[in-house]
């Protein structure tokens, strides 16, 4: 989604505005002539240019002002907070330089939280990519009840994380929860403290619940991507006697590449911001086993009033997210910005060969 800028704009952009800039003040007459040639055109186009600029400002300003007030300003405030010791009231006077950063980075709770975030980032992709792909490939055929199936698979994604979390919290209750009951009937003893109460299991349990919640998004996006794959390719492959598996591996999956890579980006950004589900399921516990960067900074900021520490953690979270996003762009999404024709043709040939 970041790479849209250049390819989309190029063709559509050029024509309308060049004509409109000139056409407007002298509507009909100037249409025939290019800008400069009209006598006195200089002054008129000058006025038109000003008017155009005013219009642009009028249209864009509300969005920019809103984003400045509620996006940019808070981030600048986070940077400012991060170099003061501040309890949340009065002016910030107790300048401490980078000491908050040092203390955050030396804080095991924070570094563990960062590790948990990274585990969730990688774990989500490793679980949801193969599962989502498998389900999407299975569903990508004419079958009875397909529409209903898609709807059902998407339901968890639409539920609030809080609601999904509260339901799962009940399901996962130790001993009396339905999951432990089912396990017991299979002769398996659930952990005595429950899945969410056992430090070694809690993070993995959260990961499973997150997979349940977000798998539907992967499936829906992959299915949408699959619809973009031309029927011809499948026909050609079928004529060549390719097996179903060969077709998927040589044609479908490669052509789904851009969709998978963009989904991975969305998933990564989401995992780095993880808060709601953890807050509901474990509150970051037991023994800080499931803290994330977001729970850390909310804890420090609003519960302990350590706004300097919270500010420093915010800035670090932002830098981590930015670095990972840029790295993802550079190493993974870059292929998608290359011209598409050559690759598509090569894939087509490869598919037909199979």
């Amino acid at each position: 989604m970041i790479d849209v800028a250049d390819d989309v704009t190029a063709p559509a952009a050029a024509s309308p505005a060049t004509s409109t800039a000139v056409a407007e003040p002298v509507a009909r007459a100037s249409q025939a002539r290019p800008a400069g040639s009209a006598p006195g055109g200089r002054r008129k186009t000058g006025a038109a240019a000003w008017r155009k600029r005013a219009e642009i400002a009028f249209f864009v300003a509300p969005a920019l002002v809103l984003m400045f007030l509620f996006v940019i300003l808070p981030i600048l405030t986070a940077v400012q907070m991060s170099v003061y010791r501040w309890k949340g009231f009065g002016p910030m006077v107790d300048f401490v330089g980078l000491r908050n950063y040092v203390s955050v980075l030396n804080n095991n709770v924070f570094t563990d939280a960062l590790t948990h975030n990274l585990i969730i980032v990688v774990g989500s992709i490793l679980l949801q990519l193969p599962l989502g792909l498998a389900i999407a490939l299975l569903l990508n055929r004419k079958m009875w009840g397909q529409g209903l199936l898609r709807t059902i698979i998407f339901v968890p994604y639409v539920l609030a994380e809080v609601i999904a979390g509260v339901v799962w919290f009940q399901l996962l209750q130790p001993q009396y929860g339905v999951i432990d009951t089912i396990l017991a009937s299979l002769g398996i003893q659930g952990p005595p403290q429950g899945f969410l109460g056992t430090p070694d299991l809690a993070l993995w349990t959260v990961l499973v619940v997150l997979t349940w919640k977000y798998l539907g998004l992967a499936v829906i996006l992959f299915l949408a991507g699959l619809q973009g794959v031309s029927e011809d390719l499948y026909e050609a492959a079928a004529l060549d006697g390719a097996s179903w598996w060969q077709v998927q591996r040589k044609i479908t999956i490669p052509l789904l590449g851009p969709t998978m890579r963009t989904w991975g980006f969305l998933s990564m950004i989401g995992s780095l911001q993880l808060f709601d589900m953890v807050w509901i399921l474990t509150g970051g516990g037991p023994a800080n086993a499931t803290t994330t960067m977001a729970t850390f900074l909310v804890n420090e900021g609003t519960r302990r009033q350590n706004f300097g520490i919270a500010g420093a953690a915010s800035v670090i979270l932002f830098v981590v997210a930015l670095v990972l996003a840029l790295a993802y762009q550079y190493f993974i999404l870059r292929r998608d910005t290359q011209p598409d024709d050559g690759r598509g043709a090569r894939k087509k040939r490869k598919g037909a060969d199979a």
Binding site: T9, L66, F70, R141, W244, G301, F307
Partner: protein
Amino acid sequence: MSTATASPARRRSAGKVTGSKIVVYAISLVVVALTMGPVLYGVLGGFRTNAQIAADPAGLPGPWVFSNYANVLQNPSFWQYFLNSTIIAVLTTAVVVVFGIMAAYPLARYQFKGREALFLVFVIGLLFPATVAIVPLFILITQNFGMGNTWWGVALPQAAFALPMTVVILRPFLMALPKELEEASMLDGTSRIGFFWRILLPLSGPGMVTVGVLAFVGSWNAYLLPLLLLRGDMKTLPLGVADFSSEHSADTAGVFAFTTLAMIPALVFFLAMQKRIVNGLQGAVKG
């Protein structure tokens, strides 16, 4: 595509598939069970008593009990939370759609120096997750803007963080409208602003619905920002659900009933707007 060439391949695959078809349906059933199981368990749990749940956690309601749902529906807090969620979501959606389409219009259909740079501002905005700014946002809104514990105090920042995605989705949409429309209206002496009002706005209805639905669902489900900003009677449904489940943790059936009723609006909205949501997400992925 011509059906004549397609049919031999299709017939062959249809013959081959019957065996694997059973497998596909079986896997589909498992997926459906795993997906809907927790949701249905919550819905059905609301129809049981706590004694029933304690005696047999995995059982079905027997007899069916309606008092849990009735209690929630008679709970004034539930309706207060519902109202707050609705108002905040409507405000967020209105601001996102109006400011988003306004910003996307010149970025899509004006030719000017620095246009791509301006668009890049919105693209970069995508990289600023709301979580990063949450603590300073809390400080600014409560201390500097005086909007703590108000509907606007939640709606405006939510709209601000939804705007980059909105503009990124809407711009290609507006670009795709044929330029002849614009030229024709210019020939008739319509100004660019007139064009925006009379032609572009009506035509971009579907795009606005898509971004509007995404903004609405995002706001309806939001938790972190309302958690920091809203107190008492101003709370939204997700906060209410979380509170209810921790305050009445012994009343499992009541928690299920409350949770189920809180999820209904989002589910109904989703079923009505399913196409739009999926299109929007696709649009976000394709750019």
